[in-house]
Symmetry: C2
Subunit: 120 residues, 2 copies
């Protein structure tokens, strides 16, 4: 990759990442805590599943896939949420949150991709 | 929150989010695929666990917690990776990747927080 290509690639990921982080913060401010993190992780997984099945070019994927969906969803806040519940002795809540998010996100990816393939 | 406070808050999250998305892209370019996504999710979880136990102010948390760690880690690429393996018939690989990432991130949060508390 030439320096120019690297720079424009970084710019596309950076723009999408900025928007994704701000959108996540907006959802988090609105819904707060575990519900907000669950919502962004499932919605972002549906969106990335759909993007992966759509006939979009690589620049679009860099902005909306790697950039936006990558920054909109988050693993660290999810993991901290699970550990906080476990450390507070709420092991069933922790397990339900962890496995529920995982299951919903995986179903979301499959549904997002399936919906796009059905429409094409 | 006043409009000014909202704007500066968004700016802090946006700056951290941009850097986090670019750092994730750099790791992904270097290690690629599942290994890269695993690395960012575990490293980011260690970092957010450490941040949560550190005596840092709210602006620092917005930049490096909500912004950087949030955008550096990703749930959507993780979920897509799991689904791709499952759809390719590699169910054991999919399960190992899903549960391995989850376990490593949860241990990472606890270790990050524990290390900071031990140092204070």
């Amino acid at each position: 990759m030439t320096p120019d290509a690297s720079l424009s690639t970084a710019l596309l990921v950076g723009v999408g990442g900025t928007l994704g982080a701000l959108a996540r913060f907006a959802v988090d401010t609105r819904f707060g805590g575990r519900r907000g993190v669950f919502a962004v992780n499932v919605l972002g997984s549906v969106a990335l599943g759909a993007l992966g099945a759509a006939p979009v070019d690589s620049a679009f994927l860099l902005v909306f896939g790697t950039g936006f969906c990558g920054a909109f969803t988050t693993f660290s806040s999810f993991a901290v949420g699970v550990v906080e519940h476990a450390q507070a002795g709420e092991r069933r809540v922790a397990a339900r949150y962890a496995l529920g998010t995982l299951a919903a996100a995986l179903v979301g990816v499959a549904l997002g991709g399936g919906a796009v393939r059905a429409l094409l």
